[in-house]
Symmetry: C2
């Protein structure tokens, strides 16, 4: 579909689809991916819930919160649904460990699931309605993202916050049962509230973006429900979102193939709490550890052949903080071999200084090999008895060609929840997430995810 | 100052000024203009408070409001300070009758005063601190606007919402006593929350923009107070506000001449509730009425010579609704001559159909004269006794060359408050606004501005 100021149907057609799409239309694999997306989001939000940014946001805004409608994930505080959406969105993104829609680098669940779960405690929702609203919210968000990526991202917008507000508005609009006119207005109110500049990367404001997008989208839908009017052409008009926030747009990405394609099927999950370039090395080290029951004491040396970017971006040999550990392929391989994981707890400030880890890290060597693909690695582990164990990772786990398995997602969830929730609660939550669409009251997940004070 | 990615001091220097500027620095004329700006804003908010958009916003969001910290102007509801800022901002803009910073077409008070007055009930403020914060909020907002206008507005941003969020953050940051680092972060959190696309003009979402900007700016300052971090270069960085939201910028407009110039001195106030092109004709008609004690029964005909745009934009001879009346120079001159005013009540749906008004309207004729300036008009009124009364308006009231007098601002206030608050309350509020800087507790104005239910 060509760019044209005469294109009047983009916002309204999208609204029409959102209003009419039913749970019964969803293919089984879409429903399954919704559960995986939700499980991953919930684990990230639980894991991030004790971060000081989350505490600061609660301290700053609790004096203005309404009645305790909704749980704050991983914490004992309860807030009104709008503030809970904000705070849970912050928690879910603070580790940069959440899901990624690879075509647009949108983190889809942050804005959408944060809004929906908070809403589901305000007005109870069953699992089928919840899954449908989650899928449709992500659909709206990622279709709009597809229409403007990469130009919109390149100019400096944090697309998770700018497209995410549409996702939250669509999901809550669906939950509210808005008609087409009001859904169109909800998208219009969302269009006027984009959140997020990339300049904020590296500060707490980055995580504010998905949270505020959740809150803004919910606000948009609630206002539209009451008849608060907006433009009918908020996305496609000459002074609308697509022209004002992007130098390019492809309307067909928004309005074609409704119900035939689902963007949630392109969602991916990060297995490790660090930059994606060292994921192959971590993946390979964990494989060798698990296949051969390796312990660090048996390892004499480790040789990696890696894509050149690995050394360029993550070549720190002596990390002194957890954050520096994320930029050290040496530390990352050491903890992978010791712990069989590379979650937030393996990147704590304490973890990078543990003598056993430091000793192993110093026995790791890495060589850049320009012929190596960025999602591959070759590893040789020489044991103290002289044996050499080798592996070649062609596609690292979490890449598009080798998605995380359900079991791996569960392990990631448990790693994130450790120290926040008791293990039995984690197990129960994982079970509820897999049974998401069968639940009578999805809000029960939120209440079970709340924890004692940090 | 040239555009340059190396320009690192814009946000931080602005923050430094905001932190250090004191009430004692303000020239008398600046303090006086602050009172005028505040009086005009308060009248607009009182007048707009019964609009259905305001009712809808309250109905939609009251379920999420915190404790009753702050008054909703003109109404009996009380909301938490963040929601009160939003709703009062909507009320203040819904008639498009609020103040205008002529260089940028920003409506400065909407975002800033809406945030500040709501805050002043949450944590009491005296008049001196309030005036200083109001002036500085408007200074930040309009300086940032100056730096990107007109390119930023031309691309489609509603500058009142996008620059306004900085104004609210600056004002509340000043009220909170933020240090330079935290004020810088408050501006950063504001930068990531721009509100408003021009596509929304003509819908209720337009008035949402200043309200949401007030709420977003207050949120930004509250988070920064707790140490929630942001970029230190939110405005000037390559992926910051100035580059992402505008194709041009002039940093010198933000950082030069601190304390030497005050943007509030360029604020203007609309005397009449309609488009600015027919203001000269209304002004002239009111002058003739008042000088000669005219009544419509004595008038045989009225001849206008006007700038050609007047007929192009407001040439409706038979308006059928209040909104159409705003696009009729004939109706506007008739009500000016009958009522001596052209406020919202003269543009109601009933007002345009009153037989006495319609009869006079039909005796008004207008001729386009390309030699006439856009803020001028020539009027000849022929009386039934054959006398002709003439006047020439060189600069209409409310234009930069003929600002509204204090008495005219009071009359505007009374007209807006009529039917919402009792006359004695209006008189008391006008008195409090003129004594703004002497007040012990500015929140008393908010409480006195609240009204019984619509």
């Amino acid at each position: 579909m060509p760019e044209s100021d005469n294109e009047t149907g983009v916002t309204s057609n999208l609204a029409g689809y959102l209003v009419e799409a039913e749970y019964g239309d969803l293919p089984a694999k879409v429903r399954k991916e919704a559960a995986r997306t939700f499980l991953n989001w919930l684990g990230c939000a639980i894991g991030g819930s004790r971060h000081e940014a989350v505490s600061m946001a609660i301290e700053a805004l609790a004096p203005f919160s309404g009645v305790a409608q909704s749980s704050v994930i991983g914490r004992s505080e309860r807030l009104d649904a709008l503030h809970a959406a904000l705070v849970n969105g912050i928690s879910s993104h603070i580790f940069d460990f959440d899901d990624t829609h690879l075509r647009t680098v949108i983190h889809p669940a942050g804005p959408v699931a944060s809004a929906l779960l908070a809403y589901a405690e305000f007005r109870p929702m069953n699992g089928k309605d919840f899954v449908n609203a989650l899928v449709l919210g992500i659909e709206a968000e990622c279709r709009i993202g597809n229409a403007v990526f990469p130009a919109h991202y390149d100019v400096g917008w944090h697309i998770t916050g700018t497209a995410g507000v549409f996702g939250a508005a669509a999901a809550i609009g669906k939950a509210l049962g808005l008609d087409r006119q009001r859904m169109t207005w909800a998208l219009g109110l969302a269009a006027s509230q984009p959140v997020g500049l990339r300049e904020m990367f590296g500060s707490m404001t980055k995580s504010f973006h998905p949270g505020r997008a959740a809150q803004n989208g919910m606000t948009a839908a609630l206002l539209a429900e009451r008849g608060y009017t907006s433009s009918d052409r908020a996305i496609e008009a000459k002074r609308g979102w697509g022209y004002v926030l992007s130098t390019q747009r492809d309307w067909s990405a928004i309005v074609e193939g409704f119900g035939e394609t689902y963007e949630i099927l392109s969602n991916s999950y990060k297995p490790f709490a660090c930059g994606i370039v060292i994921h192959p090395a971590i993946d390979g080290a964990i494989r060798l550890r698990n296949e051969h029951g390796l312990t660090p004491e048996r390892v004499a040396s480790i040789e990696l052949r890696v894509h050149p970017l690995v050394l360029e971006l993550t070549g720190k040999t002596k990390p002194r903080t957890g954050l520096e550990g994320k930029f050290s392929v040496y530390h990352s391989v050491a903890i992978a071999l010791i712990a069989g994981a590379a979650g937030e707890s393996e990147y704590s400030d304490e973890a990078v200084l543990l003598p056993r880890t430091v000793a192993l890290r110093e026995r790791v060597r890495a060589t850049a090999d320009p012929s190596m693909r960025s999602d591959s690695v070759a590893i040789d582990v020489v044991l103290t008895d002289g044996t050499t164990l080798s592996t070649f990772v062609e596609h690292a786990v979490g890449s598009i060609d080798r998605p995380m398995s359900d079991t791996e997602l569960e392990a990631k969830f448990r790693g994130l929840a450790k120290g926040v929730l008791p293990d039995e609660k984690s197990d129960a939550l994982i079970d509820l997430c897999w049974r998401l669409e069968t639940l009578e009251d999805v809000g029960s997940i939120a209440r079970m995810s709340s924890g004692s004070p940090a």
